[in-house]
Symmetry: C2
Subunit: 241 residues, 2 copies
Amino acid sequence: VPPRFYVPGARATESVIELPQDEAVHLVRVLRLAAGDRIRVFNGRGDEWEAAVDDAGKQRVRARLIAPATPAPEARVRITLAAAVLKADKMDAIVRDAVMLGVTTVQPLVTARTEIARATIERSERTARWQRIAIASAKQCGRAVVPDVRRVAPLAEVLRQPPCLMLVEPSLTLATTPLRAMPDLDAVTLLIGPEGGWTPDEVAQAVENEARLLTLGSRTLRAEAVPIVALTALRVHWEDD
Amino acid sequence: VPPRFYVPGARATESVIELPQDEAVHLVRVLRLAAGDRIRVFNGRGDEWEAAVDDAGKQRVRARLIAPATPAPEARVRITLAAAVLKADKMDAIVRDAVMLGVTTVQPLVTARTEIARATIERSERTARWQRIAIASAKQCGRAVVPDVRRVAPLAEVLRQPPCLMLVEPSLTLATTPLRAMPDLDAVTLLIGPEGGWTPDEVAQAVENEARLLTLGSRTLRAEAVPIVALTALRVHWEDD
């Protein structure tokens, strides 16, 4: 596969498109491509094309769309990963991996035991950073869909968008659903807590909002490994990998 | 669960055992436990006990075994993870996660495209480091079995211990087995290549040695995420989580 470039404005009705500046810089300065070189262009909404560099200047790069191309297939079940925000590089890794594992949306979450305040996250422009990571990850893994990274939200707000699956510890005394009994769904929000877990109040709130409580085996995992394991487990269980 | 300590020499026939020095230091200086405090002791071979600190001196700590305890359950299928050695902290994360995902053995692997030489790995005492990580990970995740971390070995040597599963890219033109067609096994060695993948020669060599070629979906993952995803996928497929 030739190098892939993200051009949000690309549409099938236009034959010549201009690359965004950061993509243009990458094409010219890092990959040192020139007019005539073959590339791929995708628009982040599922469309991808074979293309050729038309004009590679220092200020702007244009490409000619040649024919539709087939990106990596999208999963059948649309998953929104609603993950409690972990410290900097851990959350970066979660966003990157979640995109590779096919989520359609990333919803950063603030919970009672989240160690970073919502205001701090909003001030730090972390959402923009995670969105850039989602783009880079989609480029790398061959998806033509760039998942949307939402603004950080509190649990209560996310619970209002069913159906939700809340990942909980197996020791919980409430009625939980083991993975093998999880029914098939078209779309779901997967809620994953912070290092310290959910509070009993948060679990009760989820149950009140008709979220299902999901358990995964009996072992303790590192917080940043939990989303990878949970997403993989659901995909394999649903035969949607 | 009270804090857990790894005492390789602990046996059911002895009622008072002495902690190894690093565990004793951890008990006294970090956790500040004293005589009478409840702990758990496990021997890394599957046995675990409720115990009590008997005598916590600066030089040595002894504990009294009170009754057998139930550790996290071990998986049904014994998996040896034979993973090509990645750069420092990535390999550390792989060892840690593999233990949490229940492998019984970690076999570091040198392949044609491994970026670190076998001699460098052997000189650096990395095996001892990975073994310490395996112990720490077992302590953290509640397993009473400490997986054995073997000395780094070339692919050919590992292929001599069937049955082997080699994880390959789905683009490969050879006969591969998708996850959902993978038969049940009692024990298996899961071979995972380096960032640059296997060479055609290595895949041919695996096939000659009757290794099965396993594919997992169609997306590209980061090299350090591949073992977590592959181990989770196999466990869920085998309903062995």
